[in-house]
Symmetry: C2
Subunit: 469 residues, 2 copies
Amino acid sequence: MDETSQPIEVLLSVSRDDRRGLGTQIEAQLRGAIREGRLRAGARVPSTRDLARQLGVSRRVVVGAYEQLAAEGYLTLRQGARPCVAETARARVFPTPAASAPAAAPRFDLRPRAPDVSAFPRSEWLRCLRDALQAMTNAELGYGDPRGVEALRSALADYLGRVRGVVAAPERVVITNGYSQGQGIICRVLAARGARRIGFENPSHPDQRRIAERAGLEIVPIATDDAGIRVDQLDRAAVDALVLTPAHQHPTGAVLTGERRRGLLTWLRQRDAIVIEDDYDAEYRYDRAAVGALQGLEPDRIVYAGSASKTLAPALRLGWLVVPARLLAAVTDEKDLADCGTARIEQHAFATFLARGELDRHLRRMRARYRRRRDLLLDELAHALPEATVRGIAAGLHATVELPGDHDERAILDQARRRGINLMTTYDFWIPPGTGAPTLLLGYAQIPVPAIPTAIRALADAVRSTRER
Amino acid sequence: MDETSQPIEVLLSVSRDDRRGLGTQIEAQLRGAIREGRLRAGARVPSTRDLARQLGVSRRVVVGAYEQLAAEGYLTLRQGARPCVAETARARVFPTPAASAPAAAPRFDLRPRAPDVSAFPRSEWLRCLRDALQAMTNAELGYGDPRGVEALRSALADYLGRVRGVVAAPERVVITNGYSQGQGIICRVLAARGARRIGFENPSHPDQRRIAERAGLEIVPIATDDAGIRVDQLDRAAVDALVLTPAHQHPTGAVLTGERRRGLLTWLRQRDAIVIEDDYDAEYRYDRAAVGALQGLEPDRIVYAGSASKTLAPALRLGWLVVPARLLAAVTDEKDLADCGTARIEQHAFATFLARGELDRHLRRMRARYRRRRDLLLDELAHALPEATVRGIAAGLHATVELPGDHDERAILDQARRRGINLMTTYDFWIPPGTGAPTLLLGYAQIPVPAIPTAIRALADAVRSTRER
């Protein structure tokens, strides 16, 4: 046995009991040895004859394996020369990441991110998935319309018209993977059409502004008050588009009044601008019927955007746009380029879910639950933190809790964290950050009723501790 | 009854048998009348007292409905004045689109778009969905890691390492909604890091180039031949990145040779560029074992991109990237901004599907099927169209069929269409379009075996007819 084949002999072994063929085993072991640096670039490997003899396999098997590895760039084979590891084959394995200790789960999570997913109707959803898989034609398992599945666009047009007063023909509905993708698509379409400035309510969600910035638009903050966005500031703002949460301003919880709505529509038409109506958690209103969508009054200049993330579960990644005629072709194309359309089996399932009234049933159940939690949370707050003022309407999945002006939001966050409370404040919602009144956003969707009193007392303790230092 | 309330009386009617409340019925009918132009901006509506009397309902119900409509911007209510339709309320309904006659389904669809979705394992997939819904925790129904579900990233890392020779740690896997989204994300990340020029094989898929262009990159065509991309042209091309189909050049069907692979790796390291490896239909090779992915040799500069669209079904919208360490944070952020992550129930289902070996089983079945179809199609072609040359390796879901240089691809497309054949040629794959040899791309995945002889004879007839004019 010659010198050069010595190291190889140690490395390689084949088994006839292995379900993989002998050649495949040789390939896998050589590939691994090269990658892990046991065989370095330029190193000679045994001749096919030697290796075949060492391993007790036919030479044809080794020749096949070597040819495969040469085709992949691991080996260099040259007529008359000994085979060797290719000079370019010096890949490294990924370093094993240091096992980071998973962050301890908080005792209480009051961040207003998701609805109560523990109530997600798993068996109803599974039934809809099953029916979808049974009903879909083979053609529907292909690509199809990038706007989405016809059955879902129809079901949504009906649902949104009935529940939110949206003027939606199925042709104008575009299914997206949640709200963010929809806003990104619209922003890119507007930028491509020459839009430069986009207005955002101040405060508003910072992630939404980042999406608009990535599309190349300049962010223009527009003040809000208890009646919603300050429509009187729009003329001076000179924006080409505007992202708006009229049903329930996010995060202040204000509702855009009828007068402001009329003013906004007048501005919108004069400026010939586009509004993206983020119909954020509009299905949850506890004191009266929800206010209908603005889109119904100006469907040619308002893009309606909604999602199932706050009504069912964020994991579904299902959202929708209702698009003005003049933007429809560009939005469809942009969605096609983004990902060739949203997952289609789930679209069929959601169409069935809507048509069977499952979403209505689910929302009826959840409204009662959330209302109970909200009431309890507000009661506890009144006792534990009497200096706090709850702003906004009785709606949505979080309470907007304003503290006297000398409170420090970031110190409260820190103290809450020490007490095992995950919290969110409006700090980053403001433009510039931290310029608004200190305000906590207390999500009640994910905290069980029995935990609310303890959580609020711990929170009040955290707030007080920032005053004693 | 006074004059102004006359038209209203005609329009409105309420029923106590309706499951919706009386107020909701009034709102819906007034909203509809305003939208459809039956009630115009500024038109007076009956006083609440009049309307209550007309309809025989309590005045409180009408007051509630009017307040709702005022809050939504449909009505103007002013103390002491008669209520009227808001001046801004002049929305129109969408015009009903002219019912376009659906395009007649072609007799034969030879476009290489999708795999044979009639073989999609519906019941196995449903079982995986059911198990996913049972196994997922509540937290997993929320947002989670934008890269995707941990179980799927692990299962893919294993699968890709085993089947494609990809060096993939689960941390580096990012789940996308198919290949297109992945390529878009990488292109945007590269552009944000200062990349300006991106190379594409010539010919290559035009949609992929559009995605790169939208990200702000300049497209640089690089010639290919029977050994794959012309590596010797890369230095002069001075590109920062390169999209590559090494396992099976799309559309020519060439495989990148071992020598070219080594040359490419040398260039890649010298230039410190990034390659996006589109591992297009690599799982289908009929004459020998598939050539492993290039990524395994340079995981720090090659982004590996794959999807389930060609192995299972495009409708799933499931794809994946394996990302070099230096791009991982930016890619994760870009995916988060794009859509906050891919649908999660399906990710769990696919993880189970992979772990159970269902994909291997499915591919084994499909390889035998596609091979049979390919063999038959090539046999028929040899008889019916002897002047044609089949290029590329025995792999993938289509045959690349080159015709003598004086054939006219667009005339052939037209003649094929007249014979009920949907066809694709390489015309648009070339930069500039139509500059390559006339070539048909004959997809055999979706055409049943018994139809192949007839389809090929009809195709040959179409080709011949373009020569007789």
